[in-house]
C-alpha cells in the first residue's frame, strides 16, 4: 500500500513544556490508523501540527511524497487533509447545509439551491438523520458530529483525521459511522482515528501508533498488539487496575436518605419523576442518548427551570430552583458538556478550581491570592493535574486534565451529593480509572454520587443501583444481581425482564 502521509521527528514546545518530542507518524492510503495515548500524550497536539493549527518546532511532513509546510487548517484542507475535531466546531446558529459548505467556495456568491441539494444528497448517502435546511442547534450532539464528518468527507480529502468522533455517539450511530469509515477506506482514503474506546480500535483499525508523554512508543499492526499490551504501552506499565475497581458495598440499605424528590419536572421536558439517593450510595442514570438522563440530573441540580415537584434534603423540605440553592444543600454537578458548561476557558486553572467554593463562600468574602493558591496547589497535586502552573489558562490543558480541574472544583466544596454527568467522556483509560476510584472512595466516605456514562461497563463497575430511562421517563430500576448488560438493554427496549 502507498504511503500518503509521513511525519518525521516532529517536535512541539509550549512555553517551557515539551508537548511532542521526535514523533514519527506514517499514514498509508486506504487504512484506518488508530492514534492512541493517554491525556497529554500528545495526540491532539500531533493532529494540530498536522492540520496547521500549531506551527511545528521541528521535523518534517511529507504528503504524497512531497515535503509540505502546512501553515493553516485552510492549507491542510487544500492539499487534502480534513479534520473533524473532538469538540464540535461548527456554527450552531447556521443550517446543516450552511455548516457543510461554509468557508469552502472561492467564489463570492452562493448558489443556495445547489448547496442545499448537494447537502441533502450527502446526508442521504450517509444516512444522517438531519435535514439540509434544519438549524444545526436543533440536531442532537451525535447528529452534529456526523454533519461535521459529512463536511469533511465531501471535501474530497485524501487523509481524514477524526479526533474522538465517537465520544458522543451511541452504539447504533457509532456503527453507522464505522460503516462510513470502511467505505472511505475502501476508496483509498487514509483515516487517522483518535479514540479512547479500545473496543472500537479493534473493531475497525488496521494499525496503531501509540504515544506517551509526547514521545513515540511505537507503531504496530492491529494483530500483533493484544488489548492488554496496548493498555500497558499507553500507560507505560503493566497493570490490571480495572479489575480491582469494584463497588464493595454493593448495597448499603442502612444509609439515611440524603436527597429525595417527588414529582420533579423541569422545562427541559422531563416527565415528572420520583428519585432518592442514600448516604454512600452510587447510582446511575442510563438510557439512550436523548432519553432524558442528563435532563433529569439537571433538574435535580436546578440547572433548568423547575416546573414542579417536592424536594427533601436530609429529610427537610427545601426549594431547589437554581444551582446556588442546590450548592447550599451540599450538591455538586459536573456537567455533560465540559466545554460549554464546565470550564471557564480563559481563566486560570486556579480560578477554575476555586470558583464553586468562592461562590458558596459569598461575593463579599473573596479568597486571598495566597489562600486560593494553596487550595489550588493542593488539589492539583491530589488529582495529579498536568499543568504548567496554576496560572495557566484552563483552555490550554488537555481534555482529561480539564475534567480533573472541574472535578477538583466540586471536591473542594466537600459535597454531600455529587452528580457526575459523563465525567469520563473523551478521557483516556488511566484517568478514567482514577475518576472511578475517586468516586468509590467518596462513596466510602459517605458521599452519595450519581454517575452517568455512555459506557455501560463503567456504570456496572461503579454503581450499586441503575435507573433506566426511555423517552424522558424512568422505566425501571435495577440493583444488585439484576444489573447486567442484558437486563439493561431489555429494560431500555421495554421488554419485561
Amino acid at each position: 500500500m502507498k504511503t500518503i502521509l509521513e511525519m518525521r521527528n516532529i517536535a512541539k514546545y509550549f512555553t517551557g513544556v515539551c508537548a511532542l518530542h521526535n514523533v514519527d507518524f506514517t499514514l498509508r492510503a486506504g487504512e484506518i490508523h488508530a492514534l492512541m495515548g493517554e491525556n497529554g500524550a500528545g495526540k491532539s497536539t500531533l493532529i494540530k501540527v498536522l492540520t496547521g493549527v500549531y506551527a511545528k518546532d521541528g521535523g518534517e511532513i511529507s504528503f504524497e511524497g512531497q515535503s509540505v509546510t502546512i501553515r493553516s487548517p485552510q492549507e491542510a484542507q487544500n492539499i487534502g487533509i480534513s479534520t473533524v475535531y473532538q469538540e464540535i466546531s461548527l456554527c450552531p446558529n447556521l443550517t446543516v447545509a450552511e455548516n457543510m459548505y461554509i468557508g469552502r467556495g472561492k467564489q463570492s456568491t452562493v448558489n443556495w439551491r445547489a448547496m442545499e441539494r448537494n447537502a441533502a444528497a450527502i446526508l442521504e448517502r450517509l444516512s444522517i438523520p438531519a435535514r439540509a435546511k434544519q438549524q444545526l442547534a436543533n440536531c442532537s450532539l451525535a447528529v452534529q458530529q456526523m454533519v461535521a464528518i459529512a463536511r469533511a468527507v465531501d471535501m474530497e480529502c485524501k487523509a481524514l483525521v477524526l479526533d474522538e468522533p465517537t465520544s458522543s455517539l451511541d452504539e447504533q450511530e457509532t456503527a453507522k459511522l464505522f460503516e462510513l469509515m470502511r467505505n472511505l477506506r475502501d476508496k483509498g482514503v487514509g483515516i487517522v482515528f483518535v479514540t479512547h474506546f479500545l473496543e472500537q480500535v479493534y473493531q475497525i483499525c488496521d494499525r496503531i501508533t501509540v504515544l506517551r508523554n509526547g514521545e513515540l512508543v511505537g507503531e504496530y499492526g492491529i494483530k500483533e498488539l493484544p488489548r492488554v499490551q496496548l493498555v500497558a504501552k499507553m500507560m507505560g506499565k503493566e497493570l490490571d487496575e480495572a479489575a480491582a475497581i469494584r463497588h464493595d458495598e454493593r448495597e448499603n440499605s442502612d444509609g439515611a436518605v440524603v436527597y429525595e424528590a417527588a414529582g420533579l419536572s423541569s422545562l427541559n421536558c422531563v416527565m415528572p419523576f420520583d428519585f432518592s439517593i442514600k448516604k454512600g450510595e452510587v447510582n446511575g442514570f442510563t438510557g439512550l442518548l436523548g432519553s432524558g438522563r442528563s435532563e433529569s440530573v439537571r433538574a435535580v441540580f436546578g440547572a433548568d427551570r423547575i416546573t414542579g415537584g417536592k424536594v427533601k434534603v436530609n429529610d427537610r423540605s427545601v426549594k431547589i430552583t437554581k444551582p446556588i440553592h442546590a450548592m447550599r444543600q451540599g450538591l455538586g454537578y459536573l456537567p455533560e458538556n465540559r466545554k460549554s458548561d464546565g470550564i471557564i476557558a480563559d481563566l486560570s486553572v486556579r480560578d477554575n478550581i476555586i470558583l464553586a467554593l468562592q461562590v458558596l463562600k459569598g461575593f463579599f468574602r473573596p479568597f486571598s491570592k495566597a489562600e486560593a493558591e494553596k487550595l489550588a496547589d493542593e488539589y492539583i497535586k491530589a488529582l495529579g493535574i498536568k499543568t504548567a502552573s496554576a496560572d495557566t489558562p484552563i483552555k490550554s490543558l488537555s481534555g482529561g486534565n480539564q475534567q480533573k480541574v472541574i472535578f477538583a472544583r466540586w471536591l473542594l466544596t466537600h459535597p454531600k451529593y455529587l452528580i457526575l454527568d459523563e465525567p469520563t467522556r473523551g478521557i483516556d483509560v488511566g484517568t478514567k480509572l482514577e475518576i472511578q476510584k475517586i468516586v468509590l472512595k467518596l462513596a466510602r466516605e459517605g458521599v452519595c454520587v450519581t454517575f452517568i456514562s455512555s459506557e455501560i461497563e463503567e456504570m456496572l463497575r461503579t454503581c450499586s443501583r441503575l435507573i433506566v430511562m426511555r423517552d424522558r421517563k424512568i422505566v425501571g430500576e435495577l440493583r444488585g444481581s439484576e444489573m447486567t448488560q442484558d437486563n439493561i438493554m431489555r429494560t431500555i427496549a421495554g421488554e419485561a425482564g
Binding site: 440547572a303 444551582p323 446556588i324 464546565g342 471557564i344 476557558a345 470558583l355 458558596l360 463579599f364 473573596p366
Partner: protein, 351 residues
C-alpha cells in the same frame, strides 16, 4: 524591565503608545512638558502646562472608562448611553443646587441624588441586558436616544449655571493645592475600584460571566445580577464624571455635556488591551487608554491643528494603536520576541 508579569505584558501596547507620544512631543517641542507655577484668578498658586491639562482633562473619561471596563468584561458589550446618562445626572445635580445656597451639605445631597438617579438608569440598562437578553448596544441605544431629552425636561430647557466656592474647589483647585481636584477624584475612584476588587469577588464573578455565562450559572453565580451590577457600577461612574464636568464648567448644557464620551470610553477600554468581547480585564489598561486619548488630543491642539481636523488625526493614531494591539500582530510579535529570547537567553533588552 524588571519582572515580566502577566499584567505587564497586557499593558505593553498602551504603555508603548504613551511612551511614543512622549518621545514625539519631546522632539517636536521640548517645552511641551514644561510645568509652571502660576497664580490664578482666585489668587492660588497652581500648576499649569500641557502635562497638567492632560491629567486634568482626561479625568471624566478615565472615571467612565473604569465602569465601562466592568460592563465590557461582564456582558461582552458596551454601554453607549453614558454621555446621555451623564447629562441626566448633571441636570439632577444642578436642579437641586439651583434652589438653595451652594453649601457643602447641599452639594453632598445633590451628589447622592444624582448618583441614585444614574444608578437607577444603570439598573434599567442592566435589566434590559440581563433579563431580556437584549444586546448591550441596542439596550443602551434607548437611553442614548432619550437621555438628553430627559435632561432637557429636568431643567426646563435652560442652561442653568451653578457657582460658589465649593463648586470651584471641586471642578478647579482647592486653595493651597496646586493640582486640579478632578485628578484627585480619579485617584479616589481608582482606589475605590481597587478596594472593591480586593474585598469582593467582583473580578472572578464578572470574568466568569463574561467568558462562559452558562458555566458561571451552573456554578451558582447569579449571572443576571452580576450583569446588572456592572451597569449600576458604571452608572455610579457616570454620576461622578457628570458632577466633575458640571463643577468644572459651572453650568450644564444638556446637549453638549460629555458629548461622544461613550466612544472615547469604549476606545480607552480597547486601547487598554481589554477584549471588547468580555472576559479578562485590566482597569489600569483602560485608565492608561483614557490618558492616551487625552494626550493625543492635547498634542494635536498644541500642534495648532484646527479643531475640526483633530478628530481625523486622532482616528489615524487610533488605527495604528488598535492594529498594533490586534491578535494577529501580537502573535507575530510573540514569535519574533521568542526568537530574540532564544538567541540571547536571559538577557533583558535595553528599554
Amino acid at each position: 524591565m524588571k519582572k515580566r508579569e502577566f499584567s505587564l505584558v497586557h499593558l505593553i501596547v498602551p504603555l508603548l503608545a504613551l511612551f511614543l507620544l512622549v518621545i514625539f512631543n519631546l522632539f517636536r517641542d521640548p517645552a511641551f512638558f514644561s510645568v509652571k507655577l502660576l497664580v490664578n484668578n482666585d489668587g492660588n498658586y497652581v500648576l499649569s502646562g500641557n502635562l497638567i491639562s492632560i491629567l486634568n482633562g482626561a479625568s471624566e473619561l478615565a472615571i467612565i472608562a473604569l465602569g465601562m471596563t466592568i460592563v465590557t468584561a461582564a456582558t461582552g458589550g458596551q454601554d453607549i448611553s453614558v454621555g446621555a446618562a451623564a447629562a441626566i445626572a448633571g441636570s439632577v445635580f444642578v436642579k437641586i443646587l439651583r434652589g438653595g445656597d451652594v453649601s457643602p451639605p447641599l452639594i453632598l445631597a445633590a451628589f447622592l441624588a444624582c448618583c441614585a438617579v444614574a444608578m437607577l438608569f444603570g439598573a434599567f440598562n442592566g435589566s434590559l441586558v440581563a433579563l431580556f437578553r437584549i444586546q448591550p448596544m441596542i439596550a443602551t441605544l434607548i437611553l442614548f436616544t432619550a437621555g438628553r431629552s430627559i435632561a432637557y425636561w429636568i431643567n426646563g430647557g435652560a442652561t442653568p449655571t451653578v457657582s460658589g466656592p465649593w463648586i470651584g474647589y471641586l471642578g478647579g483647585f482647592i486653595p493651597g493645592v496646586p493640582i486640579p481636584t478632578p485628578v484627585f477624584i480619579v485617584v479616589i475612584c481608582g482606589a475605590l475600584f481597587a478596594l472593591a476588587l480586593k474585598f469582593t469577588a467582583l473580578r472572578l464573578y464578572t470574568q466568569a460571566v463574561g467568558i462562559n455565562e452558562g458555566s458561571a450559572r451552573l456554578n451558582g453565580i447569579d449571572t443576571a445580577w452580576i450583569k446588572t451590577l456592572s451597569f449600576i457600577i458604571l452608572g455610579l461612574c457616570v454620576a461622578v464624571a457628570g458632577v466633575v464636568r458640571v463643577c468644572r464648567l459651572g453650568l450644564i448644557n444638556h446637549e453638549t455635556i460629555l458629548l461622544d464620551i461613550e466612544m472615547d470610553a469604549i476606545l480607552a477600554v480597547a486601547i487598554g488591551g481589554n477584549a471588547l468581547s468580555g472576559g479578562k480585564f485590566s482597569l489600569i489598561g483602560s485608565v492608561v487608554g483614557a490618558y492616551i486619548i487625552q494626550a493625543l488630543t492635547t498634542t494635536l491642539y498644541a500642534m495648532k491643528v484646527p479643531s475640526t481636523a483633530v478628530k481625523s488625526y486622532k482616528a489615524l493614531v487610533i488605527i495604528a494603536l488598535v492594529t498594533i494591539g490586534s491578535p494577529v500582530v501580537k502573535k507575530y510579535a510573540a514569535i519574533w520576541f521568542g526568537k530574540l529570547m532564544k538567541s540571547q537567553p536571559r538577557k533583558e533588552e535595553v528599554a
